[in-house]
Symmetry: C2
Subunit: 398 residues, 2 copies
């Protein structure tokens, strides 16, 4: 057999996979999976939608669709994004297989082997693996509570030989960092990138999951600012507002970029599932999204509060985290010298798991931190689980 291609030779199994197998054991309290709980999906709503589809619509669902997406869904998503003041009329939209495929396509469009991508650190693991699969040189920049640290971002542009082509940010309820960018930081990012020869990827899958009205005001995408100081690829997803199993997301970008994205998608999978696109379209068009996410916000806010209160009550003072204003995650930072893998092992032995920090470090090094997801864990188990994790931390800090 011939050797694998260069990009494949660099691919490594992520450590998240072994964890996920533990996560399905009923005796384990899992804060590992970055996913909604199965009990939260809008099964009834989709039942109703499916059974009211016309025969014609059902047949369309079985057929190939246009590469950019099922036209009524494109219109419904545009209408939805219009309510967020996103510039859907001067841009084009393509439906993708989740936000990950959108990231992958943008990476394909702009990355030749060795090209530099700037990511946050920590970073969404799907983003990291998409960039690596095109042999990108990843340069990462740490976050503080308000977003990417500007000084360090600026320094990445100093080395002219590196010439970053993409900057990948998840400004809203960050996975895994749990933070949301301040208005000021977003402006600083845009001001700094203005006129630079790069593309900004604004990855926004958690946009709807703010916990109060004040936090909602922080969710205004950078993409709404027109004219764009730098070309922005705005990415969204149905995974957190309907279900990841639909495998539907979108990319909103300039017509030039979307036209190339269509060609790329033609060579990847021709089109996303028309069957799930027909359902997702009705979910939006019938206005079911609104009441569904209103309920999600209440549930996730409650779970976050239980987790946050329990961390406050149980973690030693050296342990830091930012209370999330939305989303799925609390990112726990330990003193520099502590290895979260040790804590993970201790904690798993006692019955609670999470994802260790280096999983989210694009360079796979920094490990004095870990991610707790509250999205997936029933309320009555959060406290018990957090206590187990806290005990493991305390034992290590003694």
């Amino acid at each position: 057999m011939p050797s694998f291609s260069k990009c494949v030779q660099e691919m490594r199994t992520s450590e998240i996979r072994d964890l996920m197998s533990l996560a399905t054991r009923p005796d384990i309290i899992s804060f590992a999976g970055g996913m909604p709980n199965n009990d939260l999906f809008p099964v009834k709503e989709i039942d109703e939608i499916y059974n009211n589809l016309s025969d014609r619509e059902k047949k369309i669902g079985f057929q190939y669709g246009p590469t950019p997406g099922y036209p009524p869904l494109i219109e419904s998503v545009k209408e939805y994004l219009r309510t967020k003041n996103l510039p859907v009329d001067s841009n084009e939209l393509i439906i993708t297989a989740g936000s990950l495929q959108a990231i992958n396509i943008v990476a394909k469009l702009f990355i030749d082997p060795g090209d530099t991508v700037i990511t946050e650190n920590p970073c969404f693991i799907g983003g990291t693996s998409a960039f690596k699969s095109y042999q990108a040189n990843i340069e990462s920049v740490p976050l503080d509570a308000d977003g990417i640290i500007m000084d360090q971002l600026k320094r990445k542009f100093d080395d002219k030989s590196k010439n970053p082509r993409l900057v990948y940010l998840s400004p809203y309820f960050h996975n895994p960092a749990g933070i949301i960018y301040s208005e000021k930081r977003k402006m600083e990012v845009l001001h700094f990138l203005a006129g630079k020869d790069c593309v900004l990827i604004e990855d926004d899958p958690y946009n709807e999951l703010y916990f109060d009205e004040k936090s909602k005001q922080l969710t205004v995408p950078m993409k709404t600012i027109q004219p764009e100081p730098v070309p922005i690829c705005y990415i969204g997803s149905f995974s957190k507002i309907l279900g990841p199993g639909m495998r539907l997301g979108w990319l909103l970008a300039s017509p030039e970029i979307i036209s190339k994205a269509q060609l790329a998608k033609q060579s990847i999978d021709a089109c996303s599932s028309t069957f799930t696109q027909v359902l997702a379209n009705q979910f939006l068009a019938q206005g079911k999204l609104k009441s569904y996410v209103e309920n999600l916000r209440i549930i996730y806010a409650r779970r976050m509060k239980i987790m946050n209160d329990c961390l406050k009550a149980n973690m030693p003072p050296e342990v830091k985290w930012v209370e999330p204003k939305g989303g799925f995650y609390i990112w726990v930072e330990l003193p520099e010298n502590i290895d979260s893998l040790q804590i993970m092992k201790e904690s798993a032995a006692k019955g609670a798991i999470f994802v260790i920090g280096k999983t989210f470090d694009p360079h796979g090094v920094r490990n004095n931190c870990f991610r707790l997801a509250f999205s997936h864990t029933p309320e009555d188990k959060i406290e018990k689980g957090v206590k187990i994790v806290s005990e493991a931390v305390k034992a290590k800090l003694k």
Copy 2:
């Protein structure tokens, strides 16, 4: 904005797209789309399946699934392939977004820019675009009625500097050539490739669509021969036996290849739609496939016969084609000096369209041929459409 990556710069809009927009006009008889007719989909069967799913199964459908696929579907597909004597126990299987994603992943695994892929000529356009998207050097080999022409295949291995890494074949009811490989030709291919440092992609989406029992015997995959003389990536699809809108296919290959394919898929879309996987699993597990495809075979065979008879009655003797033993297509060859685009224009003006030959030439040149799909056209329109096409040919040959 930075320039697009090298692979994207080479991407061109395929001419098939403009045709497809014509194909939706009700006054046009279309032999263009390589797809089932909407009226043939198993809507009732899937209705029944959906409404009998347990709440638990439905929720699974909304959730992320494992990257290799929904485990019960993997088992059902394996069981199905076992009935075809495919070596499912010594190989592994991954569920993909249609067969195109499987081809794309194999290309990703083995192609660095400039590496050589051998394809047939004509070739499935999705295969061509997947290979080109990794900047492969495509070398194509013509077909005769029994398969790839061996002399010309062998010559492609003479130039040691080219060193083909992949050989991509669609041996069964070829798209667009309509032929099926003879037993002898398959053996010649395997004998020649034995021990060569390359991988054979055996793309088999039309396997079930044979028109009689004698033709069925020709559908035995090369992958069934053990031990494999050359590593074979065997690819199948639900697109022709359930519906392309499900976006489900599979790749059966050695554990080493599948393990890398999983890593690649993790960076592409994480998993295929669990929602459609749950449905496809029941379609197989409840044995609904068998009776459904039995009916499809009868319908497609009838459509093919109408088209073939009508071609025989109307085409001038210089025009050649092979009567298909299964599948969707008749590939019509004209004298060398005739340009099928001219015929297409004339025919479209009179109300019948098809896909011109060079669309399927990986080098975009050879155009004295065209593809007629009978899969998508109601019986009562085939004769009228073929007459229009034949008139256009006759006018040109005069």
